[in-house]
Symmetry: D2
Subunit: 240 residues, 4 copies
Amino acid sequence: MSKIKVTIFNENLHDKEENVKAVYPNGMHGAIKECLDADGRFETKIALQDMPSHGLTDDVLNNTDVLFWWGHIIHDKVDDAIVEKVYQRVLKGMGLVVLHSGHFSKIFKKLMGTGCNLKWRETGDLERVWVVKPSHPIVAGLGEYFELPHEETYGEHFDIPAPDEVVFASWFSGGELFRSGCCFERGNGRIFYFRPGHETFPTYYDENVKKVLINAALWAGAPGGVFQTYGFWHTDNYNK
Amino acid sequence: MSKIKVTIFNENLHDKEENVKAVYPNGMHGAIKECLDADGRFETKIALQDMPSHGLTDDVLNNTDVLFWWGHIIHDKVDDAIVEKVYQRVLKGMGLVVLHSGHFSKIFKKLMGTGCNLKWRETGDLERVWVVKPSHPIVAGLGEYFELPHEETYGEHFDIPAPDEVVFASWFSGGELFRSGCCFERGNGRIFYFRPGHETFPTYYDENVKKVLINAALWAGAPGGVFQTYGFWHTDNYNK
Amino acid sequence: MSKIKVTIFNENLHDKEENVKAVYPNGMHGAIKECLDADGRFETKIALQDMPSHGLTDDVLNNTDVLFWWGHIIHDKVDDAIVEKVYQRVLKGMGLVVLHSGHFSKIFKKLMGTGCNLKWRETGDLERVWVVKPSHPIVAGLGEYFELPHEETYGEHFDIPAPDEVVFASWFSGGELFRSGCCFERGNGRIFYFRPGHETFPTYYDENVKKVLINAALWAGAPGGVFQTYGFWHTDNYNK
Amino acid sequence: MSKIKVTIFNENLHDKEENVKAVYPNGMHGAIKECLDADGRFETKIALQDMPSHGLTDDVLNNTDVLFWWGHIIHDKVDDAIVEKVYQRVLKGMGLVVLHSGHFSKIFKKLMGTGCNLKWRETGDLERVWVVKPSHPIVAGLGEYFELPHEETYGEHFDIPAPDEVVFASWFSGGELFRSGCCFERGNGRIFYFRPGHETFPTYYDENVKKVLINAALWAGAPGGVFQTYGFWHTDNYNK
């Protein structure tokens, strides 16, 4: 079986700060890449916001089955023309895994059609991530819940359309809860939003989080393989 | 506008225990009835499991727009023939509001088609009930969350079909979370499952809970009014 | 009970063509207005694309509970700034009823996050509109189906996110079918897409279609009334 | 990769009638078995209603990843104790593919919690099966629609809970439409309802239908493989 082509996008700004480098010497994108490379089923690439075209050239996008997206404070600096290209690729079947503060990225908001607002608090709460859909491929290998000793807190109401499936919900020691793992389909593309991953905590090194990243890449990458030769966009020719 | 006819069913067993009577002198059914009567938009009736036909005669059921259901330890003693009648009424448009341990009632399990299992712990945790669907009629008049100082803890995974809408999710101080307010439609009937209401806590006197009970009765009672003269069961005649 | 404020938007271009004027002397917007005015529960206003601000000034939008939208060949001429204002109003609770070729309008595509493509053919097929959700308020007063002797044909695949509810599905004599009545919620706003309404057929004078327009305005108008003083957008203040 | 274990249940009554034997010399179960055996990814077994335990012994059920179900006029003769065992297996992760008139089987109605009624007419209409979810694994290899020259007609309203996914919808030359391919999850089990398959037509020999049967077995068989060692039923031990 050929490998699933994964491109990992990161705005790569926090990653240059000393306190973040202490946690992620190769950046968060580096940690995610190591996780997927170690699995062996993926062919991975890095795309950083400060690269030409943010590293998301037509050639890169056309050779990506699943795009991971981490962004936070310079969402507005992402080129609209590239957002449009990513959007069109998702509708045609590319998977998209949106991480943490990526909930406010242009691409996620464009695909959701809502404000994607939420509550947040940076107090290093304990996060207990509960599995609320045990039959879902994305939870394969996990127990009934897993814990992250310190994370940023997100709280409801999360302003998204009703997800097709809610796979995880997080409990925070400070009193909030949040739909932490949400699946959506838009066009032929599968989208997974996964909440954890604040830059100052070693979340992407956590063994359970790594299982989720791998499962998410497998789940989101499936349709791309299945539907390359078929889809609604052919219907333009329907009346000829 | 004519009043919505509500029947409140209770297994009425805990309600005879001293520690429960200290909290609910007129039973939990009595507290719920007082809440709905005070609102003025409902015509209420009580049905207890130890009445003939559990108080759910054909005449009562045929004159009920919304049935509230509280049961716990003698679910198995509910007559299957009456469960079948309640079930048929729900499919034809009667609303059903299932409370707390009613998740294991014969009627709820029959309508869900799943085991309806969940986790539970009786340690009087603080329950913080979060609104996760602020646009829903059942949350009218509530804030972003409300608290119950002491409640029984329920935890995921709650083995139900994907709800049509999840309105509330509860955070518990002991570390669990739970989909506390779930809407379902089965046939022409609307079903609302509402988690809070352990017999030893004054939950049904809580001002926010009372708003939910009233909103739930209004929401679940709507279709009965709208669809009395139309529904899928007419289709038996379709080919004549 | 105060009236629901409805604004009817029309691109008002076909309506100036002779063959359309023969069917809709006062425009399609005029026919829809007559329908809602005759009901008595609505306070209606007209907004045309060739008016200043397309007739959708801040004052008009802030005093609209439900916006109807008909557009077709000059979607691209609708001012993006006004689309953004309509979008924000929907998220805050304004209802939106999108008609027929409005599936390709900027506002609908922005709220859906997909291409909203479909198949179409103008051969005056018979359209039989089936009720697939008989418990829904939007079908109140209808039978199991109703027919439109001649309509434009739309066909699947309709590229939208999975609707929250599919209320109608249309059968066409030429061999297509289509999800003709779809409900969505985005933020606090309710959105109803209703397929029928090609400019050259008297669809908006049909007695069953008129019932749908009225039911849709009542359904989409509800949340605006319920949630004016509450919603997720307050959560920006949550951490102060 | 080990083969997916499929058991094909048939009430095996029509299959003994001359006009049906002329179409299905080895029974409909035989045709379905041939289809799956030819694919090579399945290990198949036959279970007939007139076998001891209907051919569904504990040993057979415990060694089944996906159960196909065809029944029609003697649903009521299926042993409730065996229905309960099939039900428990589905909740624990066994896939279930319910065919045609199986919509009225005890097991399907028990899993749906509704009446599962529909309209029907035996006039050999042309059925055009449209793909309404082109991103779904069950449509892999199909075009935008496929046709069955003669089939029994089914019509809406189909009294089921809102499906998790609607994959196919059928157009019938006589004027009806129907949600012909519906996905549900109950507990850890995946359920697919597929409409075509009237006993007097060679539907199960159709090349497109055969692709659907194979895709459905692959889709419904997945969770059984994924979740053998984890599931909600372990939560009984949670408080020990």
